[in-house]
Symmetry: C2
């Protein structure tokens, strides 16, 4: 294994978030599943946008948020994802490159527009997401550059990639290249409903060790093992996974290996504003820590400070340097 | 004078803000005038965007921000401004309509794209603005609907309208219609450099009573009267203006009439994040108060709570209901 060119390379849906505040009864009237990510078509996208309040636009996408976070810690990063050559695609490209991330996936020059996620943030800080996949549908195995994957310590994949029709093949191609180069493959389960759609395949990825490091939150873990009992699910995970982290909101997280389960507390916050990106940014800190050779507890603490930053403002990209934040918390970067 | 259909109608440049954090040395390297609004062409816009950090997009425009604020207080509002029928123009239109503002100016179907303002927010919370006027250049007197102007208690105009080539005519047409209907005409001086460009015309608007209510901050007032002494400038203003408000950041504001000058304190804040929109939102509160028949001090206090809200987060549109905020502060709405 040669020295890595990137600490973390992410593959995911390249999405621009359209974020508005909403009352709970708006979600009810719109028939939205609170806290979930729902896939929508273009007509539904238009209907939601017409009904929702004043919004801001910010680059998003689960794995893209994570990679942006790793870059903010000072990590060397790359991202693979598909936009169109339209205004939102240009904004996505600007934002991720301006964060120092290598992003060279060619945009689509025809077909559907850049993916959009209509994010409704309720007064409790919870976010409810409606995603129009658009051009992200067109991520294709040919967009996977073998040299880049082989040159990344960790290749990080989002479960949401199971939704677009060709992206799964891109995902599996990347995982094989990474393992052939003795690199680490990480996966986030993304969303409990996403797990519901692809449970058997996700379990197989973990059990076959196609995935070396798994991220899940409690709801995703419960969905994966079809149980409402956390300890039952955690025990099953311990049997299946080489390394896994389960995030539990204000309860912190557990790091699970076949040998042991370790709890790490959440970082304190002043004010919960918007939970969008909490899981993504936790993953950023943990991945950065692992890629730099830190132990699991230190890596989880890096994840915790990043998650705490992101939930105290609107949007899923950090507003301040995570490197400085880690240093202020006495953590190594 | 018949009952008003709108409390406030605003006319201004319809702009989408592209907001990023920046260090002071970025402004120096880019040769930007800190705290000012500088007009830029398309090539310079591209250069700034390429150089600036990850950004968010949010609807802006000085008078548009003010009108959005008046609507958030519960006021009946209308806005006149020109966008193109592109992605950013659609976002601007969505955001202002979703706030409850009547906005019917037909978009341009060809020509330059929707106006963009590249806003750099430095660690001290100060904002530095670079505006590509684009489609806002094409606001034309024919976009002024006489019935709407005559039906608004106050027609509010931004000094920035002196920059696009035809907008000044639209401005003067609207002012005449408003006065013919016995309505109030208000103007903000917008920016000290803008005052520098159009000083004689702005002074004439005030002295000829084409403007009944003038908004300025300290720098704009100093520029208007070409003096660095606040008291000298305030005394000159008192001679010229029917009613004026001068905002002084954390020192609050003064309300100036020919009879007297009254100081009103700023509202307290927890944390200064981004001063973008502070003046716009102060004007929103003051205009709402005047339109609803409240006294000048109460109106200024409404302005102060709105300004305090806007400077505690990124962006120039309120994140919470100004009506609720006013009520929590014991102010009438």
């Amino acid at each position: 294994m040669t020295n890595a060119r990137y600490d973390v390379l992410g593959i995911g849906n390249a999405i621009v978030d359209v974020i508005a505040r909403a009352e709970d009864d708006f979600l009810v009237r719109q028939g939205m599943q609170k806290g979930a990510m729902t896939l929508i078509d273009e007509a539904r996208a238009r209907q939601i946008y017409d009904a929702m309040g004043p919004a801001i636009e910010a680059s998003g996408g689960s794995a893209a948020n994570t990679i942006h976070g790793v870059a903010s810690f000072g990590g060397r990063t790359s991202f693979v994802g598909k936009v169109r050559d339209d205004t939102l695609g240009q904004a996505f490209t600007h934002d991720i490159r301006a964060a120092g991330v290598a992003f060279d996936t060619p945009p689509a020059f025809d077909g559907p527009s850049t993916a959009c996620c209509y994010v409704l943030v309720t007064p409790d800080g919870q976010r409810t997401m409606n995603t129009y996949l658009g051009a992200a549908q067109d991520l294709h195995p040919k967009d996977i550059d073998a040299d880049k994957i082989a040159g990344a310590s960790i290749t990080y994949l989002e479960g949401y990639l199971w939704d677009p029709k060709n992206a799964k093949e891109a995902f599996l191609k990347a995982a094989k290249i990474a393992h052939d180069a003795n690199r680490t493959v990480a996966l986030t389960l993304s969303d409990a409903f996403c797990v519901g759609r692809y449970r058997a395949e996700f379990l197989d990825l973990v059990r076959s060790k196609t995935v070396d490091l798994l991220f899940a939150n409690e709801a995703e873990l419960h969905s994966l093992y079809e149980t409402s009992d956390f300890d039952t699910a955690a025990a099953a995970l311990r049997k299946d996974a080489k390394l896994a982290v389960v995030t539990r909101s204000e309860k912190g997280c557990i790091v699970v290996t076949p040998e042991k389960t370790t709890a790490v507390p959440a970082a304190p916050i002043e004010r919960l504003v918007d939970t969008t990106g909490a899981g993504d940014l936790f993953a950023a800190g943990f991945l950065f820590g692992v890629a730099r050779g830190h132990d699991h507890v230190t890596s989880a603490r890096l994840g915790a400070v990043a998650a705490a930053e992101i939930i105290q403002h609107i949007g899923a990209r950090p507003e301040r340097s995570l490197k400085s934040l880690a240093q202020e918390n006495g953590l190594p970067v």
